[in-house]
């Protein structure tokens, strides 16, 4: 299967950020850079919506594990982008930030619900049974966000740092820890 970029198209273009990530991760073959780093900036909000809606739902799905909640997260995020469109220099960066923040809101609320409500979820909407799904679910939120943005969305470190509001060095550390933990979870 060919990996897709966050805009849903194939790409093999690399970026300085991803090269740094490879150097940092070092203990495996190089990851394909699936992001279209050279994609022209969106010309309008509707252009951004058409190109990024489904890829961002998939990113949110990997973060929250539910398609319905992922669409809710992404629709809310696009609404925030639309309201601020004229003031945003990098709408895509702001969109990533909103999706991560809203996903964290969902996960924090869900932890409360699971802890207090023992909420029964519609399993048909959840990620299908998969050891990677289980391993991702056990990652702390901040590590899961870093690993999804890097290895699914293919963002370079500096853009992940923007989305997570941390410095690039912290992204490196989180990716390293996330990969270590995923390997331990899956290979044991």
């Amino acid at each position: 299967m060919e990996p897709l970029g966050v805009d849903g198209r194939q790409d093999s273009m690399s970026s300085p950020g991803s090269a740094l990530a490879r150097a940092q991760l070092a203990d495996g073959p190089e990851v394909d850079d699936v992001r279209l780093s050279g994609t022209p900036a969106a010309t309008s909000f509707d252009d951004l919506f058409r190109r990024r809606y489904e890829p961002m739902v998939r990113v949110a799905y990997l973060l929250v594990g539910s398609r319905a909640e992922a669409e809710d997260v992404v629709q809310d995020s696009f609404a925030r982008v639309e309201v601020r469109w004229a003031r945003l220099e990098r709408p895509e960066g702001y969109l990533h930030r909103c999706v991560v923040n809203r996903s964290h809101d969902v996960l924090r609320r869900r932890r409360l619900e699971q802890r207090f409500l023992r909420m029964h979820r519609d399993e048909s909407e959840e990620l299908r049974a998969d050891e990677l799904r289980d391993a991702l679910a056990r990652l702390p939120d901040r590590l899961r966000a870093a690993v999804v943005l890097r290895f699914y969305a293919g963002l370079p470190e500096r853009e992940i740092a923007e989305a997570l509001n941390v410095r690039p060095g912290t992204v490196k550390s989180r990716l390293h820890r996330a990969l270590s933990q995923l390997r331990q979870e899956i290979e044991r």
Binding site: L4, V31, F49, Y53, D76, A79, V83, F116, Y152, R167
Partner: protein, 349 residues
């Protein structure tokens, strides 16, 4: 599993998710955006007077308000620079040091709630309550698992969920009909004290809608047990700044951050630990009272006030308790010139 395999498997997981950018989805986004704009305009038209009146009315109703400002950890107007810390320990090397000016206005993702912090004046490790008021975007599933009930000063009957994931550490949550949620995270209080505190809470603004724009989040308090008071937990009005340093010994890593957001910075770290069911214990760092937390994933984090509003946090990766203790004992405050040299030598080109 290699990095490419991880990437491929993530794409496999997400491949079945179909969410085309349909007109229906676009319309849903438009409705949310209109809601944000409409409510933003309404807030602007109402001005601040209405909110002030609402706050005043809520305070009068509650009868007691939190004595904000009595906490000695308020900003020192004479403190113009943050302390700088380094790890001065055999075998440990500094890998990165930088001074960062945070710019929240560049990413003004609207707040969806508030955080209030309560503890004894100047006592970081004593009884502590983190109180959150969050907007809710979804309906409440009615389930019969409430473990605590109480009536607030305004007469609201509350059924809450209360658990004690660690001895002496409580997590409590309740919902107001899907409009907003209240959450209490605490340590050092008894269950009875926590329930008395919760029963004294009423929201400043009960009319919270989603998505939230300019809502007046927060609670008034009628009961403050065990000598706790509300401490200021607001971002500084200027540009927040941090001094960050990363050190390691080849295996373990310590990220040291001194942040001028004070209580906000401390709370942001500790609430994650408490909410996830981690442990909290008092320690001493650089002759100052500090809190050492361990999250369920094993991550250690220590936090304390290095200066009046300079919150220091050390987050550890791949470190055991002995390493944590050694690093905390090996911390040293740097003279300004030494920090300038350290950060300057490692500045990004």
């Amino acid at each position: 599993m290699s990095a490419p395999q991880l990437s491929d498997r993530m794409h496999d997981l997400a491949a079945d998710v179909s969410a085309p950018p349909t007109d229906q989805a676009r319309a849903a986004v438009g409705r949310r955006a209109r809601t944000i704009r409409r409510r933003h305009r309404a807030r602007q038209a109402a001005g601040g007077g209405l909110l002030v009146a609402a706050v005043a009315a809520a305070v009068l109703t509650a009868g007691v308000t939190s004595p904000k400002g009595s906490e000695p950890e308020t900003a020192d107007p004479d403190a113009v620079t943050l302390p700088a810390l380094t790890v001065d320990l055999a075998g440990w090397n500094v890998a990165d040091a930088e001074e960062v000016a945070l710019d929240p206005s560049a990413w003004d993702d609207a707040a969806s709630g508030s955080l209030q912090v309560f503890r004894r004046p100047g006592d970081l490790t004593g009884p502590t309550v983190f109180l959150r008021h969050n907007a809710a975007s979804d309906t409440v599933v009615p389930l019969p698992d409430e473990t605590a009930t109480f009536t607030t000063p305004s007469g609201r009957e509350v059924a809450a969920w209360l658990v004690e994931p660690q001895p002496g550490t409580f997590n409590m949550w309740w919902s107001a009909g899907g409009d907003w949620n209240g959450e209490v995270l605490s340590w050092g209080l008894t269950r009875a004290e926590l329930l008395a505190f919760a029963a004294g809470l009423d929201p400043v603004d009960d009319d919270i809608s989603y998505p939230p724009v300019g809502e007046q989040f927060g609670f008034t308090t009628a009961v403050l047990p065990a000598g706790i008071v509300e401490v200021p937990a607001e971002d500084p009005s200027g540009t927040p700044s941090q001094r960050r340093l990363t050190a390691g010994d080849g295996d373990a890593t310590a990220h040291v951050v001194v942040d001028d957001r004070g209580t906000v910075a401390v709370a942001s770290e500790l609430t994650d630990v408490v909410a996830s069911g981690g442990t909290i214990q008092p320690v001493t760092v650089l002759d100052r009272p500090a809190v050492l937390g361990q999250a369920p994933d094993g991550t250690w984090i220590a936090t304390w006030f290095q200066s009046a509003d300079g919150a220091a946090t050390v987050t550890f990766a791949d470190a055991d308790r002995a390493t944590v203790d050694a690093v905390l004992a090996g911390l040293r405050e740097l003279p300004e010139a030494e920090w300038d040299d350290l950060a300057g030598d490692r500045a990004a080109p």
